[in-house]
Amino acid sequence: MSNPVIKVNHVSKKFCRSLKRSLWYGVLDLGAELVGNNQNHDALRKDEFWAVKDVSFQVHAGETVGLIGHNGAGKTSLLRMLGGLIKPDKGEIEIRGRVQALIALGAGFNPVLTGRENIIINASLLGFSKEQIKKRFDEIVDFSGIGEFLDMPVQSYSSGMTVRLGFSVAAFLEPDILLVDEVLSVGDLAFRTKCQVRIQELRNNGVAIILVSHNLHTISHICNRSITLEKGQIIYDGDTETAIDVYRDSLLKTYKNFDNVIRGGTGEIKIQKVEILNPQNEKLDEIRVGEGIKIRLYYRAFKRVENPIFNVVIHILNGYQVTGIRSDVDRISTGYLEGDGYIDIAIPCFNLLPNAYTLDAVIFHSDGYTFYDRVNHASHLIVRGGNEINGIAYLPHEWETVK
């Protein structure tokens, strides 16, 4: 195999939690750096922690690597070190080739200036030469699709247009290594597709790409290899499917230790717990796509309540809502409730695609909006399945070929 274009050898980076202290350490580090005596990187000072700890990996030309991990796992710090913005505290990074970062879209934009002027300044900041700008200018404008707004000040642009303009400049970079941080999720669908096509092109040209995104779909679309980070350390490096699984497990671990901070309501009736059962009434937290489940919600009514409305909301872990189930929408009347009991919601085919889901539970008054009690992350469910399908849901279907 060819030489790696990125070699990260046992790299660590520490950060400071307190701003005041961080600034003061800045002064101390400055002094140490200037006298060339910056050898005490090993020890953590007060309020410091390892944001990136002993990380090693290599990336070859043409590879596309995803970096996965929850907030504060060290993805961005790692990316900033690769981009040469900050120095590692320990270890060494070797880079072969021209690195460019798709991190700050529209860097250096001045709202008073026109789109045309801003393209030029932004492109210069990203490292385009005068000739390259001249050569690429029309293509950039074309790609952004802002056309007639080109000579208007950028402050009169919609936020979507500004971002599109920023991305369009960046899209014409010609790097050997491209670092991408959370920028592919901007703009409308058509624009996002354009961006993904562009990334594909770069990859085919042998550009090594490192991609950070919270959107696991994007990662699984683009990267065949991914690295999962947890608390600054690599916990998995390999194929993206497994990396995402490992990430979800690590996420669930943190959620299990997560107390219900956002609990509230009038409290006459309360949710005791929410369980997920299979049709044989056995508790579980993992199924395969399309299997049947039962959601069982235990309640305790401290006084007699009339016709409360039960609501279960299903989220993608750490993400958006997938669906919600409400007793009033289903025209179910629960009648008078008092004391302990439970209600069951049977779902014959749980057709959501492989992912980790969390359930929120709410009990409303019969008016439908005041709530008695609500519990976020009342339960969770992992769906597994081998099919490499992207999207949210599996629709049961049949094929027919007519000739």
Binding site: L34, G36, L85, G91, R96, A101, N110, V112, L125, D176
Partner: protein, 286 residues
């Protein structure tokens, strides 16, 4: 392609780059050269944005030195303050003095101001940071050219016969800019971390104003004469004014010594700036 990559190996590690001074200096010079286009773009951007949002435009470049001058001309002519005899008409002395002083304070503030203004993208993408200093220099020169018209008007109005030596004045003014930017550059790393620097800078500049022969000659007798020795701006400012009006620099040795010292110091300041920015970027976050 691969061979090209071989030559293009970059290594990031913890060790301070100060330990390899030869490489540090060659990279500094390379970056300075490479960043000239970018510096120009940043300069053009700043100028266009500034003037597009201003009704009176370059009027504000003339305004401060003229107001300061008028105040002192008034105070002097009414004998409210007594100022020792100057070799040239007092208004000429003051107008040239305050214009030069304005150029100096511009230069002093420029590096920190440019770096703070760049903060939003400085912490996000890598580009040759020397471009910021270079663009700040362009901006100072631009403002200097505008302000030079004050001096021309003064010469015409007071009917002063310029000597050939005035052709040397631009170089002398460059030395003044060098001193200002050099001092400003030394303050920039700390000034990026703590706002105390940008807060206190105007106060200390004001103090320095009265310790420099801008609107009056510093008395020759002790202890005031010390000011002329320890204040590096004095010989330069006096020198330029002499050059323009009398035709020679009275104290050429002092002028040359200061110019030489600050040429070296500017280089050191640039190196410090270069070495310290990654640490600053790390501390001021994203």
């Amino acid at each position: 392609m691969n061979r090209e990559l071989e030559n293009d190996l970059i290594i990031y590690k913890a060790e301070s780059s100060i330990r390899k001074p030869a490489r540090l200096i060659s990279e500094l010079l390379k970056n300075l050269f490479q960043s000239k286009d970018l510096a120009w773009r940043i300069f053009v951007r700043d100028i266009s944005a500034q003037y597009r949002q201003s009704l009176l435009g370059i009027f504000w470049a003339f305004f401060p030195p003229i107001v300061t001058s008028l105040i002192f001309i008034l105070l002097q002519s009414r004998n409210i303050i007594s100022i020792s005899e100057t070799s040239i008409p007092y208004p000429v002395y003051v107008l040239i003095g305050t214009t030069l002083w304005q150029i100096f304070t511009d230069s002093l503030n420029a590096p920190l101001r440019a770096t703070i203004a760049a903060k939003p993208f400085l912490v996000k993408i890598y580009f040759p940071h020397e471009a910021l200093i270079l663009s700040a220099f362009y901006l100072v020169v631009f403002n200097t050219l505008i302000r030079a018209t004050i001096i021309i008007v003064v010469f015409v109005y007071f009917g002063i016969q310029p000597t050939w030596a005035i052709l040397m004045a631009p170089f002398a003014i460059l030395v003044l800019i060098l001193i200002g930017m050099c001092l400003g550059l030394f303050l920039t790393p700390i000034g990026m971390l703590y706002s105390d620097i940008s807060t206190s800078l105007p106060i200390f500049t004001q103090l320095l104003f009265f310790a420099t022969p801008v609107v009056y000659n510093i008395p020759d007798r002790f202890p005031f004469s010390i000011l002329n020795v320890i204040n590096p701006v004095s010989p330069i400012l006096t020198g330029i004014r002499d050059l323009m009006t009398v035709g020679y620099i009275n104290n050429l040795n002092n002028f040359l010594i200061v110019a030489f010292v600050f040429l070296i110091a500017s280089f050191i300041a640039l190196i410090i700036y270069r070495v310290s920015l990654p640490i600053i970027i790390e501390k001021i976050g994203s």
